[in-house]
Symmetry: C2
Subunit: 125 residues, 2 copies
């Protein structure tokens, strides 16, 4: 698909699509080609693409915590960060582990299930 088509689907601008997916391209999750018949393709099978990988490629953070101090030398801040850091490391490991089990293929299957459901319902009504 082209950026134009993708942008139409999600109601946004082709440039925004290109800018956003750039991370996925750099990670090898998708590939792009220019010129006639160009556009975007999956870099490998949907079964091999996990949400954890997508999240990382897009530079998303799994937890809304900052790890660097705003006031170096503040002992209170250091204590808070230290306490949260143990927590953060474990939490991120857990979240990544869970997200790595969800693949694009899972999402596609769920999408088709919903699509069939809509189709049947619409037809029945």
């Amino acid at each position: 698909m082209t950026s134009e088509q993708l942008a139409t689907f999600i109601h946004t601008n082709p440039v925004v699509v290109r800018r956003t997916i750039a991370g996925l391209r750099d990670a090898g999750i998708v590939t792009s080609s220019r010129g006639h018949g160009g556009g975007w393709q999956l870099g490998r099978a949907p079964e091999e693409i996990s949400l954890a990988e997508i999240s990382a490629a897009l530079g998303e953070t799994l937890l809304p915590f900052s790890t660097e101090p705003e006031s170096p030398g503040c002992l209170v801040e250091q204590a808070v960060i230290a306490a949260l850091d143990d927590f953060r490391v474990e939490a991120e490991r857990l979240l990544a582990e869970r997200l790595s089990r969800i693949t694009l293929a899972d999402l596609a299957a769920d999408f088709h299930r919903r699509y069939e459901l809509i189709g049947v319902t619409s037809h029945a009504v």
Copy 2:
């Protein structure tokens, strides 16, 4: 302590402090009193105040995900949200459980440990 004092400590504005801590007050974690000798106090013992409670009182989200659809009717979005939702519920439960085990008393103890360390180091050098 007064908002003025707290604001000085964290290098910000008294109004910002009051605005921020309002959530803690509403949750009963701290109490405030006006007028002469007024200010802020802990609502109960530091051992009884967990980071989970503070986080919730401040309206912080544990995960940077949105649960409401931006394009109702979009099956792709529905599939993604559904997949993430199972994940989100479990993750939030896990995170809250971990955070509920860290109390203000823990942070205070860690702070004092660091304080002694600095003191000894400074004295030795």
